[in-house]
């Protein structure tokens, strides 16, 4: 594969007693109440739980989009909680890929330009990395659509662009918040297959979902409840391989 990463058993994510309280003036809304999670590099984790249990909140903190109120978050050994806005931007730009439920492509840019956005903020000219971006677009199955605008694409195609974009800067970790939430089951399957490929390449994947079938693809499912880890399910590697449709890429 294009971007195969070495597998290791290092913890990429290590959070201890993580809390998040939304401060709405008078009212304080606790969203996370002391979460402890360790995620190994190259693993595939699903976050599940009822609505309002704090899945998105946790994912945003893991993605360095938001800061915890308390506790410690180590990303690849570095304490992220104390970092400046600029440093967090840099981490997001270099080490994390995001996939959103509502695609979030930039309407005035075409497919390749959208994929290029993370690289743009790393100071890379589109001419120098056009082939790389176009290659990603082809990889997610967007042949013949390279110069289309998001408006001219179907939801599934837009989410493919988003997957390609999340890969542009060759991140260690891809975070997806209900990536199939807006798609029909077949299209959803296709997107999940793409994520499986990323995982097979050795990338860490964390996905938030409501769908148990989706969660079945992950090696580990973390169930949240009222801002706390309720329980953790481990899936056998073989099960994962089976869910992947026996693609035989798990190693």
């Amino acid at each position: 594969m294009l971007f195969a990463l070495p597998m290791s058993n290092k913890a990429i994510i290590d959070i201890r007693a993580l809390t998040k309280v939304y401060n709405l003036g008078q009212v304080k809304v606790p969203a996370l109440n002391g979460v402890n999670i360790e995620v190994l590099e190259g693993s595939y984790v699903a976050l599940m739980g009822p609505s309002g249990s704090g899945k998105s909140t946790l994912l945003n903190i893991l993605g360095c989009l938001d800061r915890p109120t308390g506790g410690v978050y180590r990303l690849g050994g570095e304490d992220v909680s104390a970092m400046s806005d600029r440093q967090l931007s840099q981490i997001r730009g270099q080490r994390i890929g995001f996939i959103f439920q509502s695609y979030n492509l930039i309407p005035q840019l075409n497919v390749v330009e959208n994929i290029h956005v993370p690289l743009f903020y790393q100071g890379r000219d589109i001419r120098s990395c056009y082939d790389h971006c176009a290659g990603l677009a082809l990889k997610v199955g967007l042949r013949g659509r390279l110069d289309h605008r998001p408006m001219q694409l179907s939801g599934g195609q837009q989410q493919r662009v988003a997957v390609a974009r999340s890969l542009a800067n060759n991140p260690l970790m891809v975070l997806a918040d209900e990536p199939t939430g807006n798609l029909d089951s077949t299209t959803g399957e296709e997107i999940l297959a793409l994520l499986d490929e990323l995982h097979a390449d050795g990338r860490t994947i964390i996905i938030v979902t409501h769908d148990p079938k989706v969660a079945l693809r992950a090696e580990r499912v973390i169930h949240l409840m009222d801002g706390l880890v309720d329980r953790v399910e481990h899936h056998e590697r073989s099960m994962v391989a089976a869910a992947n449709g026996a693609k035989g890429r798990a190693s």
Binding site: N60, R92, F100, N104, Q108, F120, D125, N169
Partner: protein, 428 residues
């Protein structure tokens, strides 16, 4: 941010602005009009000032005019005692004293002006008869277009010859040749020996308070000696129903100095010479140099005023731009969130929106400069009005529009950058 990224951000700005062409265009319009107004107004003002200065220069910066004016007391006195002969003005005595006492004085040109009808055949024109010296055209830069002007010989012999202004000749003679014809003033006949074209508007202005609607350059020039000998110094004033006799020796005297530097210091000397033996204020001094300076000072004031107005109009344009950019930031909140999630720093976001505003201002400014230039060109070439586009006005207008872009773009850009990425992403 390195160079290519800036280019890329500029390209991105164009892309985003093209998404809302009408809105971008209308926003720019404020800038266009502001810049256009500055350049055009300054160009028109500069042109007018140039014309005025040229006119004054023709009058001569190293000249001083002394003009006879009727003192205020006699004006009111004339209405109570009807047939009063009002006697005032510059005398020959004054003229010779000035000539004798002023240092650096080159020439003194006396003029006596009387209002009389002039006849040719059955045509009549109300004219100003100007008795003056042969060097009048040289002194006033008037142009002898046909024939010749008066000579020393004419002056010495009190010849009955005259020179007409071009337009008077046309009115009196139509398409006949006026040269060598005889025109009549009262019972005297004068041979027309030349045609003259006055060059400056000031020369064409009637002396004293003329009735309105009269042609300004209906002048008949004849030797001063002839005018005195034939008609004396009495002039009839039959304006406003009253009938009044005036006795004025010299209507106007022009003094020419060897250099411009002598003009200012001579003014008190002239006043002193004139005030001697004089009981009433029956003359006025006209100093073209002072008028010139006054025009320049006025111009500076006008320019400052225009700049204030321009600043206000650009301010209004700038507020318009800020308003639109704030709306744009709100509208694109989600895009901002996405960019932040994908690694954009606050600085990147500020730069992006600032560049968009600057593009609007720059294009608007350029269009305004082009429009102003075009307008000035059209005014000059099609309407033949002096219009001078000054470099500083172009630079100032352009610089101001850029400054407006920076000032009014910064706030929306900072607001965009201050958005919390999560909040921005959640924005619907």
């Amino acid at each position: 941010m390195n160079g290519f990224s800036l280019i890329r951000i500029i390209q991105l700005g164009f892309k985003s602005l093209r998404l809302h062409k009408l809105r971008s265009g209308l926003t720019m319009l404020g800038m266009v009009i502001g810049v256009w107004a500055v350049i055009t107004l300054v160009a028109i003002g500069e042109g007018a000032s140039h014309d005025a200065q040229e006119a004054i220069k023709r009058l001569g910066a190293h000249n001083i005019l002394i003009r006879s004016i009727e003192p205020a007391e006699e004006k009111s006195g004339a209405s109570s005692t009807r047939n009063f002969v009002s006697e005032y003005g510059i005398t020959y005595h004054d003229a010779s004293r000035l000539q004798a006492t002023l240092p650096g004085l080159k020439r003194v040109l006396p003029e006596m002006v009387q209002r009389r009808p002039v006849y040719y055949d059955r045509f009549q024109q109300d004219c100003q008869i100007v008795g003056t010296y042969p060097f009048y055209p040289d002194f006033t830069k008037a142009l002898v277009v046909r024939g010749r002007f008066l000579t020393e010989f004419d002056e010495l012999h009190r010849n009955n010859v005259c020179v007409l202004t071009e337009s008077l000749a046309l009115r009196l003679f139509g398409h006949q040749d006026p040269l060598e014809s005889q025109v009549r003033v009262e019972d005297q006949y004068f041979r027309v020996i030349g045609l003259l074209r006055e060059m400056s508007g000031v020369e064409q202005r009637p002396q004293g308070n003329e009735p309105e609607g009269k042609p300004l350059d209906s002048n008949v020039y004849m030797p001063l000696s002839t005018l005195r000998a034939r008609f004396g110094e009495m002039d009839m004033d039959s304006r406003a129903g009253s009938f009044k006799l005036e006795r004025v020796e010299l209507t106007q005297v022009r003094l020419e100095f060897a250099s411009v530097d002598l003009v200012e210091p001579s003014i008190p000397l002239i006043k002193a010479a004139m005030e001697k033996d004089r009981k009433k204020k029956d003359y006025e001094l006209i100093v073209p140099l002072n008028i010139l300076n006054a025009i320049k000072a006025q111009r500076a004031r006008d320019t400052r005023m225009l700049l204030y107005i321009a600043c206000i109009s650009l301010l209004v344009g700038g507020i318009g731009i800020m308003n639109i950019m704030l709306a744009t930031v709100t509208e694109r909140t989600r895009e901002i969130g996405v960019r932040r999630a994908l690694g954009a720093t606050r600085g990147d976001i500020i730069l992006q929106f600032l560049v968009e505003t600057l593009i609007l201002c720059l294009i608007g400014g350029l269009a305004g400069v082009g429009g102003g230039w075009g307008f000035a060109w059209a005014r000059e070439h099609w309407f033949h009005l002096t219009t001078i586009v000054t470099e500083w006005s172009v630079l100032a207008a352009f610089g101001l529009s850029l400054a407006v872009g920076l000032v009014f773009g910064l706030y929306p850009a900072r607001r965009a950058a201050a958005l919390d990425p999560i909040e921005a992403l959640r924005h619907s």
